[in-house]
Homo-oligomer: 362 residues x 3
Amino acid sequence: MKRSVIDTVDLSKEEVQGLLDTAMDIIADPAKYAHACAGKKLATLFFEPSTRTRMSFEAAMYELGGNVISMTDAGTSSATKGETVADTVKVVSNYVDIIAQRHPKAGAALVSAVNAQIPVINAGDGGHCHPTQTFADLLTIYREYGKMDGLTIGFCGDLLYGRTVHSLMSAMARYEDTKFVLISPDELKVPRHLIDDVVTPNSIPCEETASLEDALPKLDVLYMTRIQKERFDDIEQYERLKSSYVLDAEKMKLAKPDCIVMHPLPRVDEIAVEVDEDPRARYFEQTYNGKIMRMALILKLLGDQDPAHTYPGGPFSLWNEAMEDNAYRCTNPKCICAAERSIRHKYYVAKNGSKRCVYCEQ
Amino acid sequence: MKRSVIDTVDLSKEEVQGLLDTAMDIIADPAKYAHACAGKKLATLFFEPSTRTRMSFEAAMYELGGNVISMTDAGTSSATKGETVADTVKVVSNYVDIIAQRHPKAGAALVSAVNAQIPVINAGDGGHCHPTQTFADLLTIYREYGKMDGLTIGFCGDLLYGRTVHSLMSAMARYEDTKFVLISPDELKVPRHLIDDVVTPNSIPCEETASLEDALPKLDVLYMTRIQKERFDDIEQYERLKSSYVLDAEKMKLAKPDCIVMHPLPRVDEIAVEVDEDPRARYFEQTYNGKIMRMALILKLLGDQDPAHTYPGGPFSLWNEAMEDNAYRCTNPKCICAAERSIRHKYYVAKNGSKRCVYCEQ
Amino acid sequence: MKRSVIDTVDLSKEEVQGLLDTAMDIIADPAKYAHACAGKKLATLFFEPSTRTRMSFEAAMYELGGNVISMTDAGTSSATKGETVADTVKVVSNYVDIIAQRHPKAGAALVSAVNAQIPVINAGDGGHCHPTQTFADLLTIYREYGKMDGLTIGFCGDLLYGRTVHSLMSAMARYEDTKFVLISPDELKVPRHLIDDVVTPNSIPCEETASLEDALPKLDVLYMTRIQKERFDDIEQYERLKSSYVLDAEKMKLAKPDCIVMHPLPRVDEIAVEVDEDPRARYFEQTYNGKIMRMALILKLLGDQDPAHTYPGGPFSLWNEAMEDNAYRCTNPKCICAAERSIRHKYYVAKNGSKRCVYCEQ
């Protein structure tokens, strides 16, 4: 079992800083890295399409001098013949040196990490984790402020379902003097468990508001997300709220002169096109930063195969301490446990005493 | 904004000659170019499949020593999440150095060219333009005759809808002493605007005939295209006409000894397989020439980024002189304007005084 | 016409040994081959998806320092425009140096081999042949025993439809003192023609049994395959039989200490996951060996273009001696003859005096 990255917090705070340092060095001197992975191969093993994420990983590997085998049709091929994810990655381990995997089910990345002979990077496992998006976000902040401490981050839009929001909150919670401003309608507030698990234990000052205008003057970073119609029972409610969470040039006048605007993309209309010209817009630069952090991560995982590492690598790992119990059954229909046979069923005990599935953490 | 190529005539006659010269040099000494694009990446951004065109661009980039990121699923991924083409190319600009784009809507290549930070090559935008096919055609003629002047070109088949025919006519109209012979049934004659815009202004002798047999003895080049059943209201009419536009060994006896036969491929049955053995057949060599001209074009666009160039590069450009007017609306349902939001609406005034959309030119 | 490989037996026994020797050398010193195909391109021309086979070829080409153009959408692109396989490979010959082709119809690989200007490797043509799978199997055996003679091979499961079984039987029949043990239910016994054409002429001792337990102690190699429900008229019969052909740790106790277990993959449940830990399991290593043998084969075909070779290369070829007769019509609905126009119809006369189609050999 090689070191893999399923979640952002699989890397310690110091290791994340190491990625940021490598990233800054790549930006300063890309030629130095142009052959760093010569003769190595990355497989982009995508069980559902995500063109942007795939292209970013492939660009990253090419800029390191490596090669790429692209498996955009993973879901329509072996899988339809009834092959498990575990078997697929055991095979793919014989073809390449590192895997970037996308899968619609929570926990699928963990299944791969414990079965592959090579490092696995989670490129999204359902609504569960998507760590390289968060690494892109962190680099965007770091390039702007040259530090991660002491920043006020506003999250706006769908904070209930937004995976990128939850992940960035968890990542920022590790820094000193972080403050959150949570901007959303009542229907889409941050879920309780995130407050309990991330905000409260780290004593992070956290303001909740429904007004983007009120929040804007306080922010160093505004992280926008989309509000999806489907989330609302009351369609009139949606129509009424929608425009208040659209960022435009007018609202940007309320923001600090150095407040950067981020968005995981794709956007639909929650950021007006006119904002693209604003010097504080960073959402396209974020995609560049994503490529650079993926380069840094590939370099780390292909180089840093210290046998002393336990999976998945840091003090945050649950795998080794989780109980294996084939009588235990995860009940989350979106978990990989529900989709695959031959799964090793494992759980851990959460702080509130309940059993949680090691794959989907629910 | 970098220099891009949307249409054949975005390059001046001299620049096309430059491509032909580069192409001849590549053919003579491919090793000289084997590392010309080392460290560079091409994205083949295909919003609709076109396997042959995509493979040709990818082969071209590899023969220049570069790498390729393939996006054959562009239409099923970001686009289904409601992302605009403009946003997609802004992102892809962060991953690669040059884009070859295919899209089902007219004008989509122009949208990309004005939004990308990198050069865009139009690999087909609906029925609008497909310049690299025409460059392949030009090289095929040039390799045969060593010149472009003084040739009689016969176009046979569907001259009404055949994009490749219209484009090659426009390209050949720039040379001295070109003659056209237009061979088609009445239902599929060259559209009036092509006569008005291309043939008449350039005083090109132009003969129209329904008989391939009559035309054949006069031609230096025969450009075949397919007649599609769907174009005919009267199916009996179609059946009666069809065989008269099928080229076979018997009809080839009527052609000059050095008359070359071209076809944009794929063919169905408009050229009998027996003609493949005829030394005058050039339709498979055309695909080789297409690869070579794509190499020449990639080299030019990655190298030739003279800031003095206005987009898209030559005296034929309409973008800069077109009027931006958000009250103006293009009415062509096949135009990118009808498919995307956040389009900058622009028109120019045609010779007959009507307003034409800058994207689809209708 | 270049030398291509449609079937395992297109290579002589000595040539197969050459592949095995090259493979062993690649395993011993991969760096020696890391640039062997620099500047060369492979097209994976897949008219139906087969992700694993495609990835294996692509990994092989990259490990030789070459590049890959991937055509996973072959079936949805040119083909839907009515292009023949013959025309497609004539075009692709202008883009790359060698083709690995997958197609749902028997004989499609032969059509490509006789039309391409470059070598074609059959990566599966319907139920007909899939030689590189068999080469992987041979290397797996050779790595284990250091020889190919004197081995007892057990084939278990669906021996009636299992293409990999038939192909490995034909390949092993060429070695000295080979013995077969055929383990299957009555419904799925090896087809008569295989006994007549392969087993009997080579005087191979051949035992047929319905019991995996009885067979196991005798075997040097156990080749497992899946039994598909769809093959049974009587579903109760299937349910009753199924478990008796499932290999588990218990049954493995009956096998010799050095009996290796092979499977073409993907497996469903015919080998219990617990067997993966058994040191005799070789089915994942087989995929590694497949990559290595594909490297050896690509090297051979790109290097070994002796003009004295007749197609497809050995004494086993039927193409040159087959009769061309456009009045002859193959009646196999799964043959490429039934799917394509412009096919050259050819037959040869089998030992029993019947005419057989040169493409599907039926």
